[in-house]
């Protein structure tokens, strides 16, 4: 396995483990705290920290790619941003009419999913 990929995994795996431990723990504690207690909200967003670290690791990984691979990921990222943005914009408009749609927490997984699709499409240009 290439050094960059190994480094990336060595950073991401512990971060994701931390996220999976923090998420139920923080959610559980936040729920029992009173609504007017600021600590409730601080604890609720703690799982964002390991995810922020994953994004830092992702940036380092992309920086280690060669120029063509970086261009492919740029195309994929723009595709993901566009599709996710339009999707949740449309859902927001539907919500404004009273329709119950997807939870905001699905924005990030959607971006990752569409980044994957975008990568497949962008890569084809160079095959």
């Amino acid at each position: 396995m290439k050094i960059m990929n190994r480094k990336y995994l060595l950073r991401v795996i512990p971060a994701m483990v931390a996220y999976l431990i923090l998420l139920p723990f923080c959610t559980g504690i936040a729920k029992v705290l009173a609504a007017e207690n600021l600590l409730r909200y601080v604890i609720a967003v703690l799982p964002v920290l390991p995810i922020a670290f994953v994004f830092w690791a992702l940036i380092q990984w992309v920086r280690g790619l060669d120029e063509m691979q970086q261009r492919i990921h740029l195309d994929a990222a723009v595709f993901s941003m566009g599709v996710t943005g339009m999707l949740f914009f449309a859902l927001g408009l539907m919500e404004a009419t009273g329709l119950k749609t997807l939870h905001m927490i699905l924005v990030l997984p959607s971006m990752i999913l569409f980044w994957g699709f975008g990568h497949i499409l962008a890569r084809k240009r160079y095959e």
Partner: protein, 70 residues
Amino acid sequence: MRNRLKVLRAERDWSQATLADKLNVSRQTVNALETGKYDPSLILAFKIAYLFDQPIEAIFQPGERDLLSS
């Protein structure tokens, strides 16, 4: 852009993976370069020229469309 990358690589009996390692790029990038699907940056073009000990113009030949497009 047309290029002689495949010919130069074959003369040295290098695989695409070998050339990729020497240029510090992926094998997919080498393949895209050879098929003309990807044009290298100036720095990569210089690296390639230095590796094959030839001037850039002897390896890469821009087509008329490359020169005319904005």
